[in-house]
Amino acid sequence: MPLEILLVLVVGGIAGITAMLHLTGKSRLRMLTPESARSEWLRHAPDDAVIDVTVSHDGHAALIRTDAGNGLLWSFGADTVARHLLDFDLLEHPQGFEVQFHEFGAPKAIIHLDELERRHWQHLMEPA
């Protein structure tokens, strides 16, 4: 296949499919409830016993307290990603906190918190 045609097909295909998905509402972030956050955590870390769950007011992040320590669950597109809070930096962010995980495949999560939540979450995320 001529390179020019291949290039047009690939670029046009990606652009067209992206537009179609976005315009049909497929870019929405996963909303979490305490129940779904607990269930999602156990999907990611089935060996843990969940003690309690704190979901952010925007519904896109949850702090999970487990018998194996604290963890962060956050919306990742229509799905979720979870990490135990073991090796991380907690940085101030204009909309809440930025959690850096020192991991190439999961570099950071930005948690959107209102003023009421911020102090509480900071307290919860401090190492025991």
């Binding site: 291949l6 295909g13 990606i14 499919i17 179609m20 799905d79 990490r83 999961a106 570099p107 999560a109």
Partner: protein, 323 residues
């Protein structure tokens, strides 16, 4: 020996069908309200990985091709390019695919290339295109050497490999339940391949087939999709990025960080590179056998069921110890 044999690059010619297939699947899901799901950034990442795979073929493909042409120069055999020979080549190359794919899940060095194909938590036709950029660095082209030494022309072998990849496109869907029984028995299908993409303990390291599922049945790695254990797609430790560069290289970076940490023996460093994924020198991670064993500790009723057959024989000992 002549090298004046040319075959089309089948994967490039299939690009319009890939796009049409994705549109058809998306519309099917929208109309039926079932049969899969799409998410914008996940799909875009998969598509960019597919485009990058084609680009890496342009940039690095010459390495494998030069190796194959060198083999072609030294082999005294030439089976020609008749239709029966092409069919035989296709079947044998599918056997080659089975083993490369199996190595891709059991050797971390090869997994570092293949992992990106499993890194989506979705399973739709875009997932099929989430392909590696780093296959050349796995050196798995050597597994094709016997085919060329047997007299199959390199261009024909690559053509058959392309057809193999095209076949695998349509099986990355939840829109198709089960195919007719005879087809499920012989061919790789959406159902068989859904199980392969599962991160459930049951489905780890199963169904490596490309086109013919018979290889898994022959070599003991076949696990049928279970109605009572819905497939959970993705990685045991799912990644948290849509950045294609991070998707493509995250496991290579992981190998580097693990193997270069201070205080390890040479054996431990090599194990971080070549042992099955999940190896750790201090037991801080689980490989697939350990994940299955932990699952059975939580759900002993699954012992001996598909995906857990290897634990069946150990049951009497466990019971004896418990008694």
């Amino acid at each position: 020996m002549t090298d004046q044999v040319t075959f089309p690059d089948a994967v490039q010619w299939a690009v319009p069908f890939f796009i049409a297939g994705i549109l058809a699947e998306f519309l099917w899901i929208a109309v039926k309200g079932k049969g899969g799901r799409y998410e914008t950034r996940d799909a875009v990442t998969s598509l960019i990985m597919g485009a990058g795979n084609i680009a890496s073929g342009f940039l690095l493909g010459f390495i494998a091709y030069a190796f194959f042409m060198w083999l072609w120069q030294i082999t005294p055999l030439n089976l020609g390019t008749s239709i029966p020979v092409i069919i035989l080549c296709f079947v044998l190359d599918d056997l080659r695919y089975y083993w490369v794919h199996r190595f891709g899940h059991r050797i971390r060095w090869v997994w570092a290339s293949h992992v990106n194909h499993h890194s989506s938590q979705h399973y739709n036709l875009t997932t099929a295109l989430r392909q590696t950029w780093t296959y050349t660095f796995t050196f798995m082209m050597v597994v094709r050497a016997p085919l060329i030494l047997l007299g199959f022309h390199p261009a024909m072998v690559l053509f058959c490999g392309g057809l193999n990849l095209i076949y695998q496109f349509w099986i990355h869907t939840e829109a198709i339940g089960k195919m007719p029984r005879w087809f499920e028995a012989v061919m790789n299908t959406p159902s068989h391949h859904r199980a392969h993409h599962g991160r459930n303990a049951r489905y780890l390291d199963c169904n490596y087939a490309g086109v013919f599922i018979i290889w898994d049945k022959m070599f003991g790695t076949f696990v049928p999709e279970q109605e009572d254990d819905r497939v959970d797609y993705g990685l045991v430790h799912n990644i948290g990025t849509f950045n294609p560069l991070r998707v493509a290289f995250h496991e290579w970076v992981g190998i580097w960080r693990d193997a270069t940490q201070p205080g390890l023996t040479l054996r431990q460093r090599l194990a971080y590179c070549f042992a099955p994924p999940g190896y750790s020198h201090n037991g801080s991670r689980d490989n697939s056998e350990q994940i299955k064993a932990k699952h059975l500790a939580r759900y002993p009723e699954d012992r001996g069921t598909p995906g857990f057959e290897q634990f069946e024989a150990k049951q009497p000992n466990t019971q004896a110890k418990q008694a």
